[in-house]
Amino acid sequence: MTAFLLRRIALIVPTLFFVSVLIFGLQQLLPGDPALALAGENQDPAVIAYLHQKYHLDRPLPVRYALWIEGVLQGDLGESIRIKRPVFDLICEKLPVTGELALLALVVALVIGVPAGIIAAVKHNTAVDYGASMVALWGLSIPNFWLGILLILLFSVELGLLPASGFVGPGDSLKQNLLTLAMPAFVLGNAIAAVMMRHTRSAMLQVLSSDYVRTARAKGLGELRVILHHALRNALVPVVTLGALEFGQLLSGAVLTEQVFTIPGFGKLIVDAVFNRDYAVVQGVVLCTAMAYIALNLFADIAYVLINPRLRT
C-alpha cells in the first residue's frame, strides 16, 4: 500500500510540470493582446505600453513562463490585471463555492443514479428498466443551460419558490445557501445521475450473474441483502471511479451552469478571465483545477483498494 502510494505521488510532479507548460502555451494561442483588452475603450497608447511592461507582455514567452513558475513555486500565483486582486485570494474565495455546488450535485447524482441503476438491473428487460433508461437518456441529452433557464422561469418567475440566481454563503444563511444552490445542483446532478445510472446498471448486471451471487442466493439469503450487501459492493467500484472523475469535472466544468445561475465560482471565474484575457487568473485557476483532478484520481485509487481488498497487494 505504501509503495503504491509513493509511486502514485511521484508521478504527480512530472504531470504538473507538463500541465503548467500546456496551460501557459495554450492560452498564448488566444487571439488578442491582453493589453488591448485591458486598456479599455480609450485605448490610450501610453496605457497599452505601460500594461505591456508591467505584466511582462513585452518579454519572450520562455521568460514569461519562467517568471510565472518562479512565482508559483514561491506560492505567488500573480495578480488579476482586471480587478487588481491576488489570484490566490480569488481561488480561495471561489473554490469553496464550486466545491459545495459540486458536492451537492454529486449527492443529487448519487441519490438518483445509483438506486435507479440498481432497480433497472434487478428489473432487467422490464418496463421499469426501459423507463429508467429513457429518463437517463433524457438527462444525458438535455443541455444544462437550457434546463437551467427553464427551471429559473418555473421556480423563480412563475412560482416564486427559489431565488433565480446568485449565491449566499452557508455562514450567512444556510437556508438561503441551500435554496440558491438547489436548482444549479439539480441541473448538474441530473446529467451525472444519468451516467451513474447506466454504469451502476451494467456493473450490477454483470455482478448479479456471477457465481458468488448465485451462491449467496443458494445459501438462502434474502434478495435485498444479496443485492445491497453482496452485489452492490463490487458493482460500486466503477461508480466510485466515475464519481471521482465527475467531481473533478464539476470543479472545472460547471462553467455553463455557473454562468446561467450567476454563481461566483470557479467556472465563472475562468470564463470571465478568458474573455478579459486575464492571463494570471486563467493560469492559476487551471493549475489549481489540474491539481484537484490529480488529487481526486489519487483518492479514487485509494478508494478502490479500500472497497476491493484483492487490490491490497
Binding site: D44, I83, R85, V157, P163, S173, K175, T262, P264
Partner: protein
C-alpha cells in the same frame, strides 16, 4: 454508520437548517441593482468599464455633473470660470464636504486627485485631461487648472471619472486603493466579492444627505439578460440595467415592473478599412463611391424596427439627431437602391465582395444579417465574420478587416465621439480605418479651442462635410439605455450617459 442512518441524519440536518430563523437583518432599506457585467478596478484613475461608472455614480462625486439635457451642472464645484483666454479654469469648491473617511475635501485634495489622474502609471484618465499642465491652489476652496491650450471638452471630462476626487489619505495609505476606495459620494464602499456583489452603505456625512434614501446599495453582476430579468421578476433585484430590447414588452405587460429609457451618447457604426494594411486594397477601401453605395443600400429605420423593435435611435453622425452638436444640414440619407446600383456601376464594381466583422453579441449579429440582406439588393456580396470581442479589437488594430460593425459607448462632449476615431493623431487602436485628413484635423483642433458652442458647431459642420463623404465610418444608430425596475421605485431619472444616480431614488 450505515447508509440509511447516514441519510436520515443528513435529512434531519437539512430540516433543521430550513427551520432555523433567517439570519438576515430585516427592514434595512436596500436597493439591489443587477449589472450586465462585473466592473473592473474601483479606482477612478484606473477604471475603464461602463458598469464601473454605474458603481462610481453612487460612490464618487465629481467636480461637475451633467444634466439630462447635457448641460454642465455643479456637484463638488459650485461655480467655475474660464480665465487667461480659456487657458485656465477656476473652480470654486463646495464648503463643508467630507470624504467617506472623514477627511475634508479641499483644494489640496482636488490638486492631489487631478495630479494622480495625470501622473499615475497606467492612468486611463491622463488622455482625457492631458491639456492640463498644472493645478494651482488659489485658496482652501478654490483651484485653478492651467491648460497648455484652450480645451473646450475639459468640463465634460470633469463630469466623469477624471473629475472624481479621492481621499488623499486613503489613496496614499498602504494597500490597494482599488479594493478600498474612498471618495465623497452618497454611498461608501463596504465590500466586494468578485463576480458576485459590490456593497455600498449610506454615507451619513454626505453633503447632500437629504437625497440619500436607501441604507444600502448592492450591485450584482448578472451577464445573461434573461436571468437578470428573471431576478427582477422574482423579486431578487429591484432594478436592472441594459434590459434586452426583445424583453421590453415583457416588462411593459408586468404591472409590478416599470421601464425607463433614454437615448444614449454612444453609437454603432461600420468602420471601413481605408488605409490599414493590405485589406484596404479593395474597391471598398479605395473608392468612395462604393462606400456611398453601401450607405444608400441601408434603411436605418427598418434596421432599427427589425432588430431593436424600434427602440433605438437611427443616426448618421457621431452624435444623435437630438444632440445640440448634430449637424442639421446633413440629415440621415434615405435608402436609394437604384442610386446605389448606379454608383457601383460607375465604380466598375457591380458586385463588390466584402467581409463584415462583427462581435458575437446576438443583437449585433442580427443587425449584421439585416445589413447583409439590404446591401445584397444593391449588388453587394457581404460575408459575416462573427469574432469574439477581444479578437475583433486585435484584428481591427492589425488591419485584418474590411468592414467592422463596431460600438462606441459615447462621451458627453462630441469631441469624445469623434477626435480619436478620425484624427491623424488618434490612437491607432481607435482610428482603425487609419483615416487622416489634415483639413479635418484643423477643424477638430479648432473645435477644441473654440469659445462657444455655436462656433464649435460650425467647425463640426465642416468636419461632417469630409467625414460623411469620405466615410471612414458609416454611423448607423444610437443605442437606447433600457432600465427595468420594480414599480415601487420612484425618483429615478435616466441620463444620456446611462448611469444610475441614486440621489433622490426611493422605494414606496
Amino acid at each position: 454508520m450505515t447508509m440509511p442512518r447516514f441519510l436520515a441524519a443528513a435529512l434531519l440536518l437539512l430540516a433543521a437548517a430550513f427551520a432555523a430563523v433567517d439570519a438576515t437583518p430585516a427592514a434595512a432599506r436596500v436597493l439591489r441593482i443587477g449589472l450586465a457585467d462585473d466592473p473592473d478596478m474601483l479606482d477612478p484613475t484606473l477604471a475603464r468599464t461602463y458598469t464601473g461608472r454605474i458603481v462610481f455614480a453612487a460612490m464618487c462625486d465629481k467636480l461637475v455633473d451633467i444634466t439630462p439635457e447635457l448641460d454642465i451642472a455643479p456637484q463638488l464645484a459650485t461655480e467655475w470660470q474660464w480665465v487667461d483666454g480659456n487657458k485656465g479654469l477656476v473652480l470654486k469648491l463646495r464648503q463643508g464636504v467630507k470624504f467617506q473617511d472623514g477627511e475634508p475635501l479641499d483644494a489640496a485634495a482636488v490638486k492631489f486627485s487631478i495630479e494622480r489622474h495625470l501622473n499615475m502609471p497606467g492612468s486611463n484618465r491622463k488622455a482625457e485631461i492631458s491639456a492640463v499642465t498644472a493645478v494651482e491652489i488659489v485658496d482652501d476652496h478654490t483651484v485653478k487648472l492651467v491648460l497648455k491650450a484652450p480645451f473646450a471638452p475639459l468640463l465634460a471630462a470633469l463630469s466623469d471619472r477624471a473629475g472624481m476626487i479621492v481621499s488623499p489619505k486613503a489613496a496614499q495609505a498602504p494597500g490597494d486603493f482599488a479594493n478600498h476606495p474612498v471618495c465623497a459620494g452618497p454611498y461608501k464602499f463596504v465590500e466586494r466579492v468578485a463576480q458576485d456583489r459590490i456593497v455600498l452603505d449610506r454615507f451619513a456625512d454626505y453633503w447632500n444627505k437629504d437625497l440619500v434614501k436607501f441604507d444600502r446599495i448592492v450591485f450584482t453582476p448578472i451577464p445573461d439578460s434573461t436571468v437578470r430579468l428573471a431576478n427582477l421578476q422574482s423579486g431578487g433585484l429591484d432594478m436592472i440595467e441594459r434590459l434586452a430590447a426583445t424583453d421590453v414588452e415583457t416588462v411593459r405587460k408586468d404591472s409590478r415592473l416599470k421601464l425607463s429609457t433614454i437615448t444614449g451618447l454612444g453609437y454603432q457604426s461600420l468602420s471601413i478599412n481605408l488605409n490599414n494594411g493590405a485589406r484596404a486594397k479593395n474597391p471598398f477601401g479605395q473608392d468612395p463611391r462604393v462606400r456611398e453605395a453601401l450607405e444608400l443600400s441601408i434603411d436605418r429605420t427598418a434596421l432599427n424596427e427589425v432588430v431593436f423593435n424600434g427602440l433605438f435611435q437611427p443616426g448618421n453622425q457621431w452624435v444623435g439627431p437630438s444632440n445640440p452638436f448634430y449637424v442639421k444640414s446633413r440629415p440621415i440619407p434615405a435608402r436609394n437602391v437604384a442610386k446605389a446600383k448606379q454608383l457601383l456601376a460607375a465604380a466598375g464594381a457591380a458586385t463588390p465582395q466584402v467581409t463584415l466583422m462583427t462581435t458575437t453579441v446576438p443583437e449585433t449579429l442580427r443587425a449584421a444579417q439585416v445589413i447583409q440582406a439590404m446591401a445584397a439588393e444593391a449588388g453587394f456580396d457581404i460575408k459575416i465574420q462573427a469574432t469574439e470581442s477581444n479578437a475583433a479589437i486585435q484584428a481591427s488594430v492589425d488591419g485584418q478587416f474590411e468592414l467592422y460593425l463596431n460600438y462606441w459607448s459615447g462621451r458627453t462632449d462630441p469631441d469624445g465621439n469623434l477626435y480619436n476615431f478620425v484624427s491623424c493623431k488618434a490612437p491607432p487602436a481607435l482610428n482603425v480605418a487609419r483615416y487622416c485628413n489634415p483639413t479635418v484635423d484643423e477643424e477638430l483642433d479648432a473645435a477644441r479651442t473654440a469659445e462657444d458652442a455655436t462656433s464649435r458647431l460650425a467647425h463640426y459642420a465642416k468636419v461632417a462635410d469630409h467625414i460623411l463623404t469620405d466615410r471612414p465610418l458609416i454611423y448607423l444608430w444610437h443605442p437606447t439605455w433600457l432600465f427595468a425596475m420594480s414599480a415601487k421605485i420612484t425618483g429615478f431619472e435616466p441620463y444620456p450617459d446611462g448611469l444610475i444616480r441614486p440621489q433622490g431614488m426611493t422605494m414606496q
